[in-house]
């Protein structure tokens, strides 16, 4: 039935996008946490943080964008879980449709929802003084990294979405992801951290991705950071995809 794969995926994508437009609260919830964090760090803590850059919001935005994605994919897992729980998943699986199209519809919905959140957060950042001399190619490169990161975390979210026993369980995995940026260069430069913490911070994916985005925004040479960032994104994407497909096949057999 693969001849209908694209048509079926488009139909099911339309369905989940309608869910998002009807329950705007998911977009609000996923953007409000990162926006509140951004405002707090810029207007409360930011004055006391010495990052070596002239504007703290310029320093902060890349990390906030990653937190936006981390909180957004909790809803990807939740939407998938709800479909499993309500029996809709089984109904679709017993119909003559391209079977994987439901999974792909959820993945694409996650991408669209997160892109909307990212645009909203970026607009707020521009309002409170974020400025970048970067041209179109640099912005496109940033968008590319963020899309890759969203896809990587989305496939990660598919695993609890398919296998969770409760709605809370489906979303819980995203909390550690939201805190990962705190142990990175997202809020403060890592060189003030004590040895072991700094060693962790310097070698975890968020630092590499944040540094690469920051360099692109500030028109600095991106150096090896961008390759490390891309390697992390692709690595997480591939491993999460393998485990997600394994979970999926176990679910449908």
């Amino acid at each position: 039935m693969t001849k209908h794969f694209f048509g079926d995926t488009a139909t099911l994508l339309g369905r989940s996008l309608r869910h998002i437009t009807r329950s705007a609260d998911t977009i609000i919830t996923t953007t409000i946490t990162p926006i509140a964090m951004m405002l707090m760090f810029v207007y409360v803590f930011g004055g006391a943080i010495n990052t070596g850059s002239d504007s703290y919001v310029n320093y902060l935005l890349p990390g906030i964008l990653l937190i936006t994605i981390a909180s957004g994919i909790a809803y990807t897992a939740l939407r998938l879980y709800m479909d499993m729980k309500s029996g809709i998943f089984e109904r679709f699986q017993s119909m003559p449709i391209a079977r994987s199209s439901l999974l792909w519809a959820h993945v694409l919905t996650s991408l669209v929802a997160n892109l909307i959140s990212l645009v909203v957060v970026t607009l707020i950042a521009l309002l409170i003084g974020f400025r970048s001399p970067a041209g179109l190619p640099a912005w496109l490169a940033v968008a590319g990294i963020l899309i890759l990161f969203t896809l990587a975390l989305t496939w990660l979210a598919v695993i609890p979405g398919l296998s969770a026993k409760s709605a809370d369980g489906a979303g819980a995995f995203s909390y550690p992801l939201i805190f990962l940026p705190f142990l990175s260069s997202a809020f403060v430069p890592t060189d003030t951290m004590p040895g072991p913490v700094r060693a962790f911070a310097d070698h975890q994916p968020v630092t590499a991705i944040v540094n690469a985005i920051r360099d692109l925004f500030t028109q600095q040479p991106v150096g090896t950071d961008i390759w490390i960032a891309l390697a992390w994104c692709v690595g997480i994407l591939v491993i999460a995809w393998i485990f997600a497909m394994h979970t999926y096949r176990r679910t449908i057999s």
Partner: protein
Amino acid sequence: MTAHQVQSPAIHVQGLQKSYKEVRVLRGVDFAVARGSIFALLGSNGAGKTTAVKILSTLLKADGGTASVLGFDVATQAADVRESISLTGQFAAVDEILSGRENLVLVARLRHLKDPGGIADDLLERFSLTDAGTRKVATYSGGMRRRLDIAMSLIGDPPVIFLDEPTTGLDPQARIEVWQAVKQLAAQGTTVLLTTQYLDEAEQLADRIAILHEGRIIVNGTLAELKQLLPPAKVEYIKKQPTLEDVFLTLVGGNGKDGHDRTIGTDA
């Protein structure tokens, strides 16, 4: 279609086995369902009814035995089976956030039919949901939800329909509505396999009844045949009392007829 296929049963199950870890849910289940008939799989909770339906609708793989629908093997010709069937699961599988009409249009699109909107409007009318068609399903009552669920299963006129406990959790009125829908289906020539834990439901609807107990079919026959298993009926004269269900349905205007306010006179 060959002459052989026309005469063969719509559903054929032989030696079906399924275990979940240590628990042997199905221990060699055999039955056949004739085309155009209503077949009830009767059993208590946990008897394995849902497991059998899931295997037949290609959602689960059996550990042993064979099962076929319209001659297609559920394991090796799953795609052909899915073309021929429709599943109404134990819980109404409807999209709460969409409207009733949108649910129907969605299924019609996924079945690649022409004029999904027209199909949706027809079904809304057939299942008395036209007025509620544009409302979110989240606002529907249990009976309306079940009716929409069954309506979604009819899209594309699948020749075989599985109904897994279609009336569990419904009030008596909604139950009768569902029964009427099932009878209508069979009248059109659709083969219906339904599972139920209600004896009266099997008695009301089914041409044949099979009792699934501890993973095996312990009896399989028509209602009359099943009744003959017990000693012949003794004639006793008892005063016919209305059941509470009769009273309830009379008061609220059941049996699908329009309800009017009734008052019971003390002299009645």
